[in-house]
């Protein structure tokens, strides 16, 4: 019956008529346009990312080097008591060290101006070096000391010599002293390890990210320990055990909504619940980690459910058909197969948590803390909040350090995402 009708339809469709050719042309043109839109969109995205990275690198690269001055500090035994070396006039020793290599300063004001060339903490740096190595008492101690921020900026060309003296952070006299140090070969600009290994400081030349890195590590650790098992348990229950009814629908909708709640709301919740009610310490990574766990939980639940859904039903049937209990089916077959997806999603969730700032501000992880936390209960900052603090600081040195901090944060995110991709490719099973 259909055979009789079909030839009639084919006969009326003339694929070589001008209209048909026109129609084909339009179709190809539409295809081409769609592809051009797509390429343009991707080019825009990559271009914007490139501009962002370029800006950060241009703004931040100078913070990866730090100007140092090599000074020979005389440590006379009459000024430093070997029995109690901590108690000495280290300030005077630093001043003497500078005066030994520079022309006479004269007035006390000029001496003070000369002292400003080195970082304010030089006296403590020298003291700690002597405490570590008391054998130098009675001899000289040669140290590369970071110069104060204005001189670092002078060396990097941020503070310009042609600016009138009254508008400049450094005086002509100080520039002359600095240049004298330079001509003696005492100025060097090595890689700024302090950026990674120092904690925060009031002085840009000493400020580093170690406190923030350790704080972020602790917070992510708490976040992972809480959200990973809870997320997997919740997802496994919802996917494998829960009956499909109105209640589970409501729970599912709410989990999806939770993933969309602004992060600052989680911060308020953390402040009200973890700090006010549970009495956990302010600014501590445990509170930050718990808040981040709340934020990461919906992400982990959603990716885990998707990973569980992607396990073929035939594997479940096979296990149940063998007489496996549900628990055995999940633990022996479904979870191992879903694990690559779960791990990838979890790492991406943690990477999000690493970059999260707003909730940490509310639980006080933006405090000024000059040493890395010794544990999850000690006050600390985190990487994004450290960047926030630096972005807020007026000193010139913090401008570059802010960009450098962002680059460090991005490097960590990149590493985490690379691990996620590696795990996915390594663990993914084919069947």
């Amino acid at each position: 019956m259909t055979d009789a009708i079909a030839p009639a339809f084919v006969a009326t469709a003339d694929l070589s008529s001008p209209e048909a050719v026109q129609r084909r042309k339009r179709r190809y043109a539409a295809d081409l346009r769609l592809r051009i839109y797509g390429v343009a969109a991707i080019a825009t995205a990559i271009g914007l990312l490139g501009v962002l990275l370029l800006t950060l690198v241009i703004g931040g690269y100078s913070a990866f080097v730090q100007t140092h001055a090599r000074i020979d500090f005389a440590i006379p035994a009459e000024q430093v008591n070997p029995a109690d070396p901590a108690k000495a006039n280290w300030r005077a020793i630093v001043a003497q060290g500078l005066q030994a290599v520079l022309p006479e300063a004269g007035s006390p004001a000029a001496q003070r101006a000369m002292g400003q060339i080195l970082t304010n903490n030089t006296q403590f740096i020298v003291r700690d070096a002597v405490l570590r190595n008391p054998s130098v008492i009675g001899g000289t101690l040669t140290l590369d000391v970071p110069v104060a921020d204005p001189f670092d900026q002078l060396q990097k060309g941020v503070i310009r010599r042609d600016t009138p003296e009254e508008n400049r952070r450094v005086s002509d006299q100080q520039i002359a002293w600095f240049d004298a140090l330079a001509t003696q070969g005492r100025i060097s600009t090595p890689f700024n390890w302090g950026l990674i290994f120092n904690a925060d400081s009031r002085f840009p030349e000493l400020a580093g990210l170690s406190g923030a890195i350790v704080g972020s590590f602790y917070a992510l650790l708490v976040c992972f320990v809480v959200s990973f098992p809870v997320g997997i348990a919740a997802a496994a229950y919802l996917e494998e055990f829960a009956p499909k009814n109105r209640w589970t629908d409501i729970i599912e909708v709410n989990i999806n909504n939770l993933a969309a709640v602004p992060s600052i709301v989680f911060g308020l919740l953390g402040l009200a619940v973890f700090i006010q009610i549970f009495g956990l310490p302010r600014s501590a990574p445990i509170v930050g980690g718990l808040v981040l766990a709340l934020m990461t939980l919906p992400t982990i639940i959603i990716v885990t459910r998707n990973a569980l859904k992607a396990v073929p039903p035939s594997i479940r049937e096979a296990a149940l058909g063998m007489g496996a209990s549900r628990h055995q089916m999940i633990m022996h077959h479904v979870l191992p197969l879903a694990l690559p997806g779960i791990l990838t999603g979890t790492i991406i969730g943690l990477a999000q948590a690493l970059g999260e700032t707003a909730p940490l501000l509310l639980v006080g992880m933006n405090a000024f803390i000059t040493s890395p936390p010794g544990g999850i209960m000690e006050a600390s900052t985190a990487l994004p909040t450290q960047i926030y603090i630096w972005a807020d600081s007026p000193e010139r040195g913090f401008v570059a350090r802010t960009s450098a901090g962002i680059l460090v944060l991005l490097a960590f995110l990149l590493v985490m995402n690379a691990i996620a991709i590696f795990l996915r490719q390594r663990l993914e099973r084919k069947w």
Partner: protein, 267 residues
Amino acid sequence: MSATLEAARSADPKSSPPAMSGNKVSVFYGAKQALFEVDLDIERHQVTSLIGPSGCGKSTFLRSLNRMNDTIEGCRVEGKITLDGQDIYDRSIDVVELRARVGMVFQKPNPFPKSIYENVAYGPRIHGLSRNKAELDDIVTSSIRRAGLWNEVKDRLNEPGTGLSGGQQQRLCIARAIATQPEVLLMDEPCSALDPIATAIVEELIDELRENFTIVIVTHSMQQAARVSQKTAFFHLGKLIEEGKTEDIFTNPKNKQTQDYITGRIG
């Protein structure tokens, strides 16, 4: 165990009680009734084939024999199904134990993405059928031998089961199913995903397995039913239309619908 098996084998099937027996079995998926009061005996050491057009309830009946329907949301079974005279839907029956006694092979070969050895060892392991590694090795080896797969895989027991060909995978699934020494083996269109050569091998295997197991097979191929089974049951629209000796059903069906189906007029 082996003594009773011997006795059952030598006895005339007519006189020994059926291995499984369905009595007024009705199955509902939510409000929809998929099976209407089916009475069917599964004879020991015979192959019983369930035939009928798609959606006729034959797979539903098969899956209620080891309670795989339990895993489907909203599925309800009425009536009585017995295994050795014991009601399998009784509260005292542990479904895990039931499935060890009534094994299943599925339409699409579904080996676990683990090694060939682990696939076969899984059932004995979770049911505690071996006391040590040597015993487990014995079970695995003999199961693979009985599934006629030994010569093809003996050198690569540690390679993934998913790397085998389709027909080999299906025989691996059969080896996995018989490793728990089930009394009854259910097969849900076991050859529908296989090529004709693999199908012939599996059919031959089914005939051999009949010696030790009671087999129920769902099939869409009437030639297959005729080739491998001793008893055939024809389902249509959720009802059991006719059952009897395979040769009788195919040569001399009593019911018009059965005749129409086997001659290709419905289905």
